[in-house]
């Protein structure tokens, strides 16, 4: 049941069929159905013959189970029964950010050094709680999957879900933020004594640096500072700069083989977030494929207007009232008509919001997806969403 799309329809099937599409990034604010969209795109692409891996961040438990994601082992696992007939395949994984961070550490340093970092309390806190780590690690994992896909040809399409942040922009900004802080001035100062060229630099700032270090020691305790120093020094030698690493992934996102799919719901806040994101992608010349608006209220009896339904309900109630002086016995029809009128009002509101979005963002392809009556948590449900996305 393809809904009317107001302007340029977003041709999702063409995007998925295009062999040059190598990465699809689903982004949007929290609670708009990003994960479901990512999973549905994965299923649809696999059943069109692509060899797909889907990276999900925080799926609902039953959705995860439907993809066979019962273990959080940070490795893609095949989803049975998807795509084989068309020569495609679907693998899925759930991101474990701490583990991804640990793996990066292990891959880039000697075993002793790695252990030193993994044991550092500062590392443990940053890797499990810093408010940008999840975004950073999602990008890191994306880079890894892409590299593996290029190296051994296991996959020809990577679909990523993005972390459930308040703002869609966090996905683009958080990795740089983490990178620039770990690369930041104060951290450089902390490390400066350990570096050959650092002494002169430190000297210039020595008054400020000493004051800063002394204050932090006083407030946080001396151990804190030395933990930080150990951590930063260890990381720096193995990474060659967090910022550079973030820049590399950022560049990957700018390649023409990447397609951003902005996911929204027909609510004011979600569409505003989508608008910010679309504008940002345009400003950074990043490849926006289109916008998906989930959860559109659909009418199964679209020919009957809401006002007509309300009027008919009143008419029936009047008749019942005339016929039966004892009490209202109106039968089922007025209730059904009033339900229809309520749904029609919601549907009209949703359509108006999407129209407004389209009017303010001409040329951005939009696709609407009907709301499902209940939550989606099996492959058939994902196929239905996929059909609504494509179709």
């Amino acid at each position: 049941m393809a809904p009317r799309t107001p302007a340029d329809a977003f041709d999702v099937d063409a995007l998925l069929a295009d062999p040059t599409t190598g990465i699809v990034v689903c982004c949007g604010s929290g609670g708009v159905g990003k994960t479901t969209t990512a999973a549905a795109l994965g299923v649809r692409a696999a059943e069109a013959g692509r060899r797909v891996v889907v990276l999900t961040i925080d799926p609902a438990r039953r959705l995860a189970q439907s993809l066979g994601l019962t273990a959080l082992d940070n490795t893609p696992r095949p989803v049975e029964g998807v795509g084989a007939e068309a020569g495609g395949s679907l693998d899925a994984m759930m991101l474990d950010m701490k583990r991804t961070f640990d793996e990066v550490v292990l891959a880039h340093s000697t075993p002793e050094k790695a252990q030193q970092i993994l044991d550092n309390p500062f590392y443990q806190a940053v890797s499990s709680s810093f408010a940008g780590t999840q975004e950073y690690m999602a990008m890191e994992k994306l880079g890894q999957l892409r590299a593996q896909a290029d190296a051994d040809g296991t996959w020809d399409l990577v679909v990523v879900d993005t972390p459930p942040s308040r703002s869609a922009l966090d996905f683009l900004d958080a990795p740089k933020r983490l990178g620039s802080f770990l690369d930041g001035r104060f951290i450089r100062l902390l490390m400066a004594p350990a570096k050959a060229g650092g002494r002169a630099y430190l000297k210039v700032f020595s008054v400020g640096a000493n004051l800063a270090a002394a204050t932090l020691s006083k407030v946080l305790g001396g151990q804190f500072l030395s933990d930080v120093q150990t951590f930063v020094a260890a990381l720096d030698t193995m990474f060659g700069g967090f910022r550079e690493r973030a820049d590399v992934t950022y560049a990957l996102l700018k390649e023409p083989s990447t397609a951003f799919v902005v996911v929204a719901a027909p609510e004011r806040d979600a569409l505003r977030e989508a608008a910010y994101f679309v504008e940002r992608l345009e400003a950074e010349s990043m490849p926006l494929a289109g916008v998906v608006v989930n959860r559109m209220q659909q009418l199964a009896a679209p020919g009957l207007s809401g006002s007509r339904a309300t009027a008919a309900a009143e008419q029936l109630e009047d008749r019942a009232d005339d016929a039966d002086a004892v009490g209202p016995s109106t039968g089922p029809t007025p209730a059904l008509l009033r339900l229809h009128a309520t749904l029609a009002e919601v549907a009209a509101r949703h359509e108006a919001r999407v129209r407004r979005f389209v009017a303010t963002h001409p040329g951005v392809p939009v696709r609407t997806v009907p709301a499902a009556a209940t939550d989606i948590h099996d492959l058939d449900g994902l196929r239905e969403v996929g059909a609504a996305l494509g179709g």
């Binding site: 609670g31 804190f224 009896a301 339900l339």
Partner: protein, 337 residues
């Protein structure tokens, strides 16, 4: 497992922490709770910590800053004030209060130390944010902490979402591995004592949807294991059932008879009564019934948590047009105040 009545649970509570999955209306519920308490003649401080300016948007006032601002003056004599706590400002204020830093504060800021401490150093940020709440809860009109009457009868905290709230409130564990001594460490211990006392409760807001209910159950388990007192589960945006139960039952039992009756009714009032319209109306009803059944099941899961449950209606106009006031009245009727 019968839940205790809400009024009894809330008796004597001075700090209300409100959490919930993102998008469930946490800020609206926290605002309504603050307003409900203020309408009972109390002096209430409503605090947000993620700098989202949700409170100022809800009450239609200019963005909140580091000063407490009066949002509502109630005829009962109660007052609702708002505050947006921001980690950087809190750190500078903290350093100023305890170390008389003066110009050095600016130097720290320029060096990136403030950014570093409030953004990267985990736990420190949360100690600073909860520290402001701690200060407000304990503030008295006398010269020292503990002397005179409480400055605030109640403090309502619009806390981080369920995914992060355990960590946010568990400041002590967070800093334990980092700042093993010193003022931050001591501060964290005092805050933890307050948060775990019976004068503090955490309320969890949810919707009758799968993910929010799942996260609510997870948060309730996590928070109670961590020793925090739990207050109510607030089921937000509940829609009135649009179809009577009897009709829903008949939809499943006698679809053919129902279809016939609807067709006849529509024809009688001159509305199109073709198969598409009649079938469409029944399909819409079936979808609605499925949604109601799911909400019913999820409602059962929520009640199974054994906490008092509060139900708030969906506001068709959002929180504009006095919507928060409507919710505050609902809360009062269900035992708040």
């Amino acid at each position: 497992m019968a839940a205790p009545p809400l009024a009894r649970v809330l008796d004597g509570v001075r700090l209300h922490v409100v959490t919930g999955k993102g998008g469930v209306g946490k800020t609206t519920v926290a605002s309504a709770l603050g307003l409900a308490l203020a309408r009972q003649g109390r002096r209430v401080l409503l605090v947000e910590v993620e700098n989202r300016q949700g409170i100022s948007q809800t009450f239609g006032v200019p963005p909140l800053g580091t000063d407490e601002v009066r949002l509502v003056q109630d005829p009962s004599g109660g007052e609702l004030w708002g505050l947006s706590v921001e980690a950087k400002a809190a750190l500078l204020e903290y350093l100023q209060t305890f170390y008389k830093l003066g110009r050095a504060g600016g130097a720290l800021e320029r060096m990136g130390v403030v950014d570093f401490a409030t953004t990267i150093a985990p736990g420190v940020r949360d100690v600073l944010l909860t520290g402001k709440v701690y200060e407000a809860v304990g503030r008295t009109t006398g010269g020292k902490r503990g002397q005179g009457a409480h400055a605030w009868d109640a403090v309502v905290l619009d806390a981080p979402p369920t995914g992060r709230v355990g960590r946010f409130l568990g400041v002590n564990e967070q800093v334990a591995g980092l700042a093993r001594m010193g003022p931050i460490h001591q501060q964290a211990e005092s805050i933890t004592r307050m948060l775990r006392s019976r004068r503090s409760l955490v309320h969890v807001v949810t919707l009758l949807e799968e993910m929010p209910v799942q996260e609510t159950a997870d948060a309730v388990a996590e928070l109670s294991a961590a020793g925090f007192g739990l207050g109510a589960v607030v089921v937000n945006q509940v829609r009135e059932p649009l179809l009577p139960d009897a009709l829903i039952a008949r939809l499943a039992q006698d679809p053919a008879g129902l279809e016939e009756q609807v067709r006849a009714d529509l024809a009688a009032v001159g509305v199109r009564s073709g198969a598409r319209t009649v079938g469409g109306l029944l399909a819409e009803a079936a979808d609605h019934a499925a949604r109601v059944a799911l909400e019913h099941e999820l409602g059962g899961e929520v009640r199974g948590l054994g906490l008092p449950t509060v139900t708030l209606p969906a506001l068709t106009t959002g929180t504009d047009d006095g919507g928060v006031g409507v919710l505050a009245d609902e809360l009062h009727e269900q035992g708040v105040g």
